[in-house]
Symmetry: C2
Subunit: 363 residues, 2 copies
């Protein structure tokens, strides 16, 4: 008896069965079989199918086998949407970042994914393209999908739109940049300290006129890094000329123009500090085309940075750790830990490779 049942579940047999059930309503193409269909085919009740699918006890091996056979024959797959609706939790979290393809954020994305996976959750991530409206739209879309938690790399400065969501129980953690106008967990890199160390490194190698090219002033990390720059200069008692500073979009054209400008004139800068990886990539190209060496320290590491000549000296952030820390914090919240929001700041690391140790060029 059992053997016969087993053979019925053979894929080939499954196809054959489609034909002989033409009389009763049969799932059409584009329609998925439901537990009801499985139950009908196996000749059992709906709940019994549910029990089998979820591995709940209280089903005889014989019945279970019949159900399993019906499942494979029909190609049934549980509808998680309905399951979630019933159970309340979605076992998924959302991640809003600036650009999925950015070499800094992609590893962060991956790190969050791994933590989510370890907790049995699915990650849904999307790009805000540095647009506050799009960030909001995306975050709220994720909330509408009822993600259990949200990790956000802010593009905007006002996150009060998340208040109802947070009040409703959506755990929320901000990464890389702090939240605006709401109180929430934040995981950051020490942008200020990193930039200060990087600039101090240049100063230690004899530079006095140092340029700073960073991202748009609205971006927290950009202003923090500029603050670090100013602190290092002030610590060394060096004056800062406004012409050495430039915050703005990181489009290659602008960065190129600014770098060229700072390197021209009677008293050019002898070193540059690049505020992030996109800026660094452009600045490296500008410098490469110059006869006179220019020292450079960049914020964020780059692939192949060690192979340039000179090697690229950078302030490295640990994107993976940033993502992992944020995700772990999120899941601790989801596990019910209730403590006041915390601000975690991860240290950066100076990676010495050559470009930051070049001496100032003679005037």
């Amino acid at each position: 008896m059992l053997d016969v049942t087993r053979r019925t579940a053979d894929p080939d047999e499954g196809q054959a069965t489609v034909a002989d059930t033409a009389s009763r309503p049969q799932p059409r193409y584009g329609t998925r079989p439901t537990m009801k269909d499985v139950a009908a085919r196996a000749g059992v009740g709906l709940k019994t199918v549910s029990r089998v699918v979820n591995g709940e006890p209280g089903v005889t091996p014989d019945t279970e086998q019949r159900v399993q056979d019906a499942i494979t024959a029909l190609g049934f797959r549980r509808n998680d949407g309905a399951r979630i609706l019933r159970k309340g939790r979605t076992a998924s979290i959302g991640l809003v970042l600036e650009d999925l393809a950015d070499p800094f954020y992609a590893p962060l994305n991956r790190a969050v994914e791994e933590v989510a996976r370890a907790h049995g959750a699915l990650l849904i991530s999307g790009s805000s393209a540095e647009d506050p409206d799009r960030e909001r739209e995306l975050a709220l879309a994720l909330c509408a999908r009822r993600v259990d938690g949200l990790i956000v790399i802010p593009a905007g400065h006002d996150h009060r739109y998340l208040e109802p969501e947070i009040a409703a129980g959506v755990a929320t953690v901000f990464v890389d940049r702090p939240a605006g106008l709401i109180d929430a967990d934040v995981v950051l890199s020490d942008s200020f300290g990193g930039a200060r160390d990087g600039v101090a490194h240049l100063i230690a190698h004899g530079h006095r006129r140092i340029g700073f090219i960073g991202d748009r002033p609205g971006i927290h990390t950009a202003t923090e890094r500029l603050r670090g720059y100013r602190a290092a200069m002030a610590d060394a008692g060096l004056p800062v000329d406004d012409a050495w500073l430039s915050l703005g979009p990181t489009a290659p054209e602008r960065v190129r123009t600014e770098a060229v400008r700072m390197l021209a004139g009677p008293r050019p800068v002898t070193a540059l500090f690049a505020g992030n990886n996109r800026v660094t990539a452009t600045v490296v190209r500008v410098i490469a085309g110059r006869p006179r060496p220019v020292a450079l320290v960049g914020f964020d590491d780059l692939e192949l940075a060690d192979l340039l000549s000179p090697g690229l000296t950078v302030i490295a952030q640990d994107a993976v750790r940033l993502g992992r820390t944020a995700a772990e914090r999120l899941f601790r919240r989801l596990d019910g830990v209730d403590e006041p929001p915390r601000r975690v700041e991860l240290p950066t690391r100076l990676v010495v490779r050559g470009s930051g140790e070049l001496p100032p060029a003679e005037d």
Copy 2:
């Protein structure tokens, strides 16, 4: 009268209302308000709320305002899970790739995201980590969430597990590598042609002994590229020594070992062809440490490749176009286009930068 109603819905008033409704069941912390709650508060029927939320016609401005006020006061957000359950379509697609953080796949991911966004769909992407079981697990999890379509960069070679899903109407497109044992749309780069061109380029610059280091032999692109290598050598009438060939994991240690081996001995290779970006990154480092120049062409472009000295000559694939093409194909399917599965092959591009034009070193 109307004015009074409006004021009742004012957010501040909303708080006050919480207190005076202590008698009837009130949403607790962690519980989201539903349309029923909104309807009760606005003093209208459930369906009217639905109409307002979905911008359907047939609601007077007065009623609509009352509902809107109740919505903001309660912080209501539509539960898309329930909506999806009712409507059937989820307006979301899934993407299974090897590694979200891989510099080749991350832009592909982003490109798919943009197309999805343009079609009003959400993208859920995840990493298979080159593990067939994990690929399967992830793809089926996405199907259980009822994504409307699926884009897969295969890790395994048997995708029959997707047959029930495809039969049930989940549009499926494979990218970068062909599907295994099922008939489906595929979008590929011309790995064979690209590798053949790259190796021919080395041959044209005088090389006769050329090494090939690629990914594991189970991976379609790896074998295709090796086939391209063989074709170029055969076209030039050159013999191939098995010692010059190495397919295997792209872990830096193995690649380093193999490269060093090929460059040693009495008749070392004078040029190397690297089968993908990870291999290239390691080979560049090996070569950089050698006194005698070794020519190199890599498959896949790398950031900063132009800044190495010599610049890195590569066979570039357009990951963005690959992703965009696949996504557009998927949405065409979702729009109901019914035609036999198609195989699209995108051309590669030889980018000459120096490393591939080095002449063979003297023996």
